[in-house]
């Protein structure tokens, strides 16, 4: 019983059983990561290329560690300072890397849909490490996995996603993933940062952050992505922090222990205050830890699928 897909392009294409299989496998890998010897020989015969056309610290290190813990060989490629700046096309770049006998590609790209395009043109399995403002599947999986650790089965649980929903691939993948797991999802933030008709994805919309906190059991606070905003959608960061930022006082006023998450990197003092980010309720570092186990599970379960076609 393996996954129903050959690539992990988006959560949208996964079956709920796929997500459960990934979680169960990640449980095992999490255990491996807590041993003295944090490594298994499963992917000795596999080479993975990490191709990043966009900046990344956490995701990239997390993927690379996951690959090394599985004993895979790893090559890293970043667009800056490469032949891409000489005008090479995406397919040429990737095909040249694959010609060196690479079995699997992990790709981040600023263009939404780039991994789907690539999947139509190459044989290797592709894992999407974030494409434009579309999907970031491994982030959604590790978020849901971290929630599951705290809350158990997510069916019927109330999850709030707060912040820049419009420009966030994390938000979209989270919505798909949580829906498939049977959780209830609410998005909250300023009206200019919440896409119109997002209710069509089966989520509730709230413009008052305090009400959103009242409603949920988990708050996944997203980063304000200034680099993706081409025209200003709120006046100042200070105003945003004042009306939509989460701080410890708001959490203390809640009469319940709300779980706080953030995919990083945090704009401290904007969407999340330092006292909230560093509070006991925050599971931000658990998310990072679980990221390696989740990525090990995805890479392991997709490995060997290239030759099957």
């Amino acid at each position: 019983m393996s996954l129903s897909v050959k690539h992990l392009l988006g959560i949208k294409e996964l079956q709920p059983e796929d997500i459960q299989t990934i979680f169960r496998t990640a449980d095992n890998f999490k255990q491996v990561l807590q041993r003295q010897i944090k490594k298994v020989p499963a992917l000795r015969d596999t080479t993975v290329a990490n191709i990043f056309f966009e900046n990344s610290t956490r995701t990239r290190i997390s993927f690379e560690l996951a690959q090394k813990r599985l004993s895979a060989d790893v090559v890293n490629f970043s667009a800056s300072g490469s032949s891409v700046s000489k005008g090479e096309t995406l397919i040429d770049t990737v095909n040249n890397i694959l010609a060196m006998k690479v079995d699997m590609v992990v790709m981040r790209h600023s263009a939404s849909g780039a991994p789907w395009f690539l999947a139509n043109h190459i044989d290797a399995s592709i894992i999407n490490a974030g494409d434009g403002i579309n999907e970031h599947p491994t982030q959604a999986l590790l978020d849901a996995f971290s929630m599951r650790e705290k809350l158990g089965d997510l069916k019927g649980k109330r999850i709030t996603i707060i912040g820049d929903i419009m420009h966030s691939r994390v938000a979209l993948s989270n919505i798909y993933c949580l829906n498939k797991l049977g959780a209830e999802v609410m998005v909250a933030g300023p009206p200019t940062l919440i896409p119109k008709h997002i209710e069509g994805l089966g989520v509730k919309v709230e413009y008052d952050v305090k009400k959103a906190l009242q409603w949920g059991e988990v708050a996944n606070v997203l980063r304000i992505q200034l680099e993706r905003q081409h025209k200003p959608l709120f006046s100042t960061l200070r105003e945003y922090a004042l009306y939509y930022g989460i701080n410890k006082q708001m959490l203390d006023d809640l009469q319940k222990e709300m779980i706080i998450m953030h995919p990083g990197p945090i704009n401290r003092g904007v969407e999340l205050s330092s006292d909230a980010a560093d509070s006991k309720q925050s599971i931000i570092l658990d998310q990072v830890e679980n990221g390696v186990a989740i990525r090990m599970a995805v890479i392991y379960l997709l490995s060997g699928k290239s030759e099957l076609e």
Binding site: M1, S2, T21, R24, T25, D27, N28, Q31, V32, R35, Q36, I37, K39, V40, P41, A42, L43, D45, T46, L70, Y300, L301, S303, G304, K305, E307, L308
Partner: protein
Amino acid sequence: MKTLLDTKQLDITLQRLAHQLIENHTQFKDTVLIGIQPRGVWLSDRIAGLLKGITGQQSIPYGKLDITFYRDDVHQGNEIHVPSQTEIPFSIEDKNVILVDDVLHTGRTIRSAMDALIDYGRPKSVELLVLIDRRFSRELPIQPDYVGRTVDTIITQKVKVYWKEKDQKDEVVLID
């Protein structure tokens, strides 16, 4: 299809295996039992239960080991194997480990299990207990220390072990 062990014979065999373990390890002071996931665990559950009864001890150090990530055929079949749980709630450092599996065939599972085990620590010794030993089909130089029943089989035959906890009956059969 031929019955290798019926309910009664299986019971006697398990009793004997448990007694043989005690003969060598008396009070299980520095000895631990580790069942190999998924199928060896049904056997190790039984053996652990019998050992408790015979020694009168509250608990026998008992763990379960998943070997999925240590297999030598990860990418040979069409399906990738989804792992089962590993539960080893104690250190195996300097312990006598008894690996438990239901059927010993090519020896490849046991090879993987030894690699997996050593990633958890350095045991003092490792022994192997199996219910059925298909002795002429080994592909690696691995032999058991405790055997329920030795059978001569050819590669196309299959040995199936039924446990009443999951299959509603205790029986071992040889399928042609």
